[in-house]
């Protein structure tokens, strides 16, 4: 039985009334005891004066199993007067890629993958496995969780029935794992031995920009590392490429402003691990969690910006671990990234040339593809599992990323 509803089944008023009817007729009997006692000279007291004692209730301090959480105010041990501008896993930048380019001092060279990465055609059997992977992650997995509420902008108050199905988080997880499995299965054995897979890591990179403290703190959902660092993608002069201009918008806009923080450089994989150089990061995208501060839909540009920020954080924190706190790097750091929600795929490659983010002479290099779709539709249509509009380009690009040494 639920605890919440008010029952009122037992009508107390009625019962009290009935009780009153009976008890109201009772008269206290005069026993004559008082008169006898008085006649014998024994004092008679009112029982209430003797029985009712006045109690003072002492307050007891209850000690719980665990300490109470720290209040999030000035008394917090991590409270700082100077605010920190932070981007976490679920923030996006207002101006998307343009703003991310300014923050990370990166220039976009082309809307394509670098020439060094060759995209080659794959045998048809790979496409067959790929299709079954899509079906397994979008249709055949047996998870049944309440999916996010359905909203119709035309009828905002309308309550749709909640649907049970595969959550976005699980879709992302399954498709990434199966894709990596497929990539390794179709590649050379020795190549697979050079690559390690890590999950649920946290990367953090603090920096200062025009006197303001900022920190990028992201989780690489799945990170592929390799025994050798990736070589630079380009040595061309970048003088002809300029950073975009988003005036009058501040480059740190929509970074969240926080006073409770810890400044820390984190590249979680220790250098004792043979394959600790970042190779490709797989970023999961979930519209339920990744949101704008002001409720607007996340745009394609903002997805691109997210890819760049994540890749930069991984590359920069790795560079800190490798080259120390200096802002110049002995050798550029190259990291590839794939952002996906199971259907959309965004590929990017970052070459980190400098950690001096206000340096106009040296800039970082960013290559990216446009947003691509792995398929048009994959769901039960009238009780039949259907996959429509499969795009074989994605697995080819992933394969070229994987083979890149």
């Amino acid at each position: 039985m639920r605890i919440t509803p008010v029952l009122l089944k037992q009508h107390l008023g009625w019962h009290f009334y009935k009780h009153w009817v009976v008890q109201g007729k009772v008269k206290p009997l005069e026993t004559g005891a008082t008169a006898i006692l008085k006649s014998k000279g024994i004092p008679v007291y009112d029982p209430k004066d003797i029985i009712s004692e006045k109690r003072t209730i002492e307050k007891i301090q209850v000690i719980g199993e665990r300490d109470l959480p720290q209040p999030l105010d000035e008394t917090h041990p991590n409270w700082h007067e100077t605010p920190l501008f932070k981007v976490g896993n679920n923030n996006v930048l207002l101006e998307g890629l343009n703003q991310a380019q300014i923050v990370t001092n990166s220039v976009k060279i082309a809307d394509d993958l670098p020439n060094k990465i060759n995209v080659e055609a794959l045998p048809k059997s790979v496409d067959k496995v790929m299709k079954s992977i899509i079906m397994q992650s979008h249709v055949f997995d047996a998870e049944q969780k309440t999916l996010p509420k359905i909203k119709d902008p035309e009828r905002p108050a309308w309550n749709f029935p909640r649907i049970y199905g595969i959550s976005q988080e699980r879709r992302n997880k399954i498709i990434t794992h199966k894709l990596i499995n497929l990539l390794e299965n179709t590649s050379d054995k020795d190549l697979a031995k050079q690559r390690y897979i890590f999950e649920d890591l946290l990367f953090s990179y603090p920096f200062e920009r025009n006197g303001q403290l900022a920190q990028l703190e992201v989780s690489g959902n799945v990170v592929m590392t390799s025994t050798k660092p990736l070589p630079p993608i380009t040595n061309d002069s970048l003088e002809s490429h300029n950073l975009p201009n988003i005036d009058p918008i501040d480059p740190l806009i929509t970074f969240t402003k926080e006073h409770i923080y810890e400044l820390r450089n984190i590249y979680p994989i220790k250098s004792t691990v043979k394959a600790h150089h970042p190779h490709t990061i797989f970023i999961h995208f979930d519209r339920e969690f990744v949101k704008n501060l002001y409720e607007e839909e996340v745009t394609t540009e903002q997805i691109f910006g997210r890819s760049l920020l994540h890749t930069f954080t991984v590359a920069a924190s790795y560079a800190r671990q490798k080259y120390g706190d200096g802002k110049t790097l002995d050798e550029p750091v190259t990291v590839q990234c794939v952002q996906t929600d199971g259907r959309i795929f965004h590929f990017g490659v970052l070459q980190l040339n400098t950690l001096n983010l206000l340096d106009a002479s040296t800039k970082n290099v960013w290559y990216q593809t446009p947003l691509q779709y792995l398929f048009e539709n994959c769901e039960y249509v009238k009780g039949k599992p259907v996959l429509e509009g499969y795009n074989n380009q994605i697995i080819q690009q992933l394969h070229s990323f994987y083979r890149n040494v």
């Binding site: 639920r2 029952l7 049944q144 049970y164 390794e184 984190i266 979680p268 009780g383």
Partner: protein, 546 residues
């Protein structure tokens, strides 16, 4: 008074009765040898048995996987009272009950059974040893996990599960890459949802059933006759491998009828040792929905973090070992049971060929290996005594993969564990010659998506997913509230109230069948071919209950 005047149809009947035709019919009825109808035992027990058999045959005749599952759930609108056998919750001394509920003969050896002797893995083990050692050292001290950095307060059992999960994924990756298994045939699932339900007999009846039998004169001799219980297994393995073809059987099916394979009898109610009950629809899910061709399980890995809780509570090493055996048996049986349902078998229609799977229970350091052969699914009361088959589980003792860690290095790596694991991977499925893998499914329509009728397909699909989700119904389930028990049943203080509740009207909401509900109303604008007739069934959606 003549018959014709009494019954005015008599004359018509008389006219239609032709003598000549009667003669020919009588001639057809005669055969050279007398052909008697079977003599049926008309005792109440035999009648009940025949009724049950008939209902089991009805389930067998249902065409598709999804419909069979709906058919199993037809008797109960609110679901069956189910005993929850959870993978990661094990009380004290649960092994005998689990063996009884799964009818499993347990064989415990130091190593794997002789069946695995044909696989020579020494060379492979030497090749992979260094990689596995490296994977272990990475997991122990190679990187900081998210929870280390966010200072999340996790219990030690959760921490152990996190480490063992990521280690298993790493080791599986190493072995799969080395063996280059064909991905068109082998599927890897990460943390799939596995559920299974089945009926178990041979358990003493609950007191309510005993009391009700006492009141019926013809049941007085059978007061203590056992009743069926619905058992439910729920678990989430770390990782499973499955394939399109089954593994070959360890022993032939006929050998499973050997009475020497003893199975302990545990006839007490499972609640006596800490099992809880829930009202649930019968669900059978091997981690994927029907339609995925990879229906046969090869290998599953399971966590054992919950052993920390047992250590605090019982501190009994012998019982801990039994708890791991219980997990090995239960997880293998549960997964195979769910697979068997997708092949058309169920707790009332027995397997026609054995199903085999392999199970590993590990926390990264301590490993236990299980090979399970399922020979029978028919454990219900009707066949509990007459069914001679038993399921068999070959278990190993717990083994440590390494002895200790000092300065981030492993001491005493045990090759035997790695070899056992590799043998499990090398045991590849084979095409069974001359066996129909799905004898109880229709040849044309094995799944509801094979039906031509769009509406039927959609309806069956929705109903199947609804039952499998076990989501709460829109209206809360009926129950007798505490205040009703006190003021209405135990003490009749409210005789003035109008009798509206089911227990006052001699109704039994829990006996409501699944189809005892009004079909969905179709608003006029969505109806096809609206007939201008008042009433009629077209206002409501057509239903396809099997």
């Amino acid at each position: 008074m003549s018959v014709i005047r009494l019954n005015n149809r008599f004359y018509q009947k008389l006219r239609s009765c032709r003598y000549s035709s009667t003669v020919t019919r009588l001639e057809e009825e005669y055969t050279s040898t007398p052909n008697y109808p079977p003599i049926l035992d008309l005792s109440p027990e035999k009648k009940r048995e025949r009724m049950k058999d008939e209902s089991y045959d009805q389930i067998k005749a249902v065409k598709t996987v999804e419909e069979k599952q709906i058919k199993l759930n037809m008797p109960k609108y609110y679901g069956f009272k189910s005993y929850m056998l959870l993978e990661n919750k094990c009380g004290y001394n649960m092994l005998p009950m689990t063996q009884h509920a799964t009818r499993t003969h347990l064989v415990v050896n130091k190593g794997l059974p002789d069946y695995y002797k044909e696989f020579n893995v020494d060379e492979l083990a030497n090749k992979l040893k260094s990689e596995v050692e490296e994977a272990l050292s990475i997991e122990i001290d190679g990187y900081q996990r998210l929870h280390d950095l966010t200072n999340e307060a996790l219990e030690k059992e959760d921490l152990e599960d996190i480490v063992s999960s990521s280690l298993i994924k790493r080791i599986n990756r190493i072995i799969m890459n080395e063996l280059s298994l064909d991905l068109q045939d082998t599927q890897v699932d990460i943390e799939p949802r596995i559920e299974a339900s089945w009926n178990v007999g041979g358990i003493v009846p609950p007191s309510s059933v005993v009391n009700s039998r006492k009141g019926v004169p013809w049941l007085k001799d059978r007061i203590d006759e056992p009743t069926d219980r619905v058992m439910v297994y729920k678990g989430v393995p770390i990782l499973t491998l499955r394939s399109k073809l089954p593994l070959k059987s360890v022993i032939p099916l006929s050998e499973s009828e050997n009475p020497d394979l003893d199975v302990p009898v545990f006839d007490c109610d499972p609640r006596t040792i800490g099992t809880t009950t829930e009202y649930r629809h019968m669900t059978n899910i091997p981690g994927f929905w029907p339609g995925d061709p990879h229906t046969f399980g090869l290998l599953s890995y399971h966590k054992r973090g919950y052993m920390h809780l047992r250590k605090d509570r019982y501190n009994d090493l012998n019982d801990d070992q039994e708890a791991i055996h219980r997990q090995g048996i239960l997880t293998a049986f549960g997964w195979l049971m769910a697979q068997a349902h997708y092949l058309g078998f169920n707790t009332f229609n027995d397997l026609t060929y054995p199903l085999v799977t392999q199970t590993v229970v590990t926390n990264g350091k301590t490993w236990s290996f299980y090979t399970y052969q399922m020979n029978t699914t028919m454990l219900c009361e009707r066949f509990f005594k007459s069914n001679p088959r038993r399921n068999i589980c070959w278990a190993t003792d717990q083994m440590d993969l390494f002895e200790d860690i000092a300065d981030g290095k492993l001491i005493g790596f045990n090759d035997e564990v790695l070899k056992n694991l590799l043998k499990f991977y090398l045991n590849r499925p084979e095409s069974p010659l001359g066996i129909n893998l799905t004898p109880y499914l229709s040849n044309e329509e094995k799944l509801c998506s094979d039906y031509e009728d769009d509406h039927k397909r959609k309806w069956l699909e929705d109903m199947f997913k609804f039952l499998m989700s076990n989501r709460p119904r829109h209206k809360l389930v009926y129950e007798i509230y505490a205040w009703e028990k006190i003021y209405k049943i135990d003490n009749k203080t409210r005789f003035m109230d109008k009798r509206l509740r089911p227990f006052e009207l001699f109704q039994h909401p829990y006996q409501r069948r699944l189809d005892e509900t009004c079909p969905r109303y179709i608003p006029k604008k969505f109806r096809e071919d609206v007939k201008r007739v008042k009433g009629g069934s077209y206002r409501f959606e057509k239903t396809y209950y099997p």
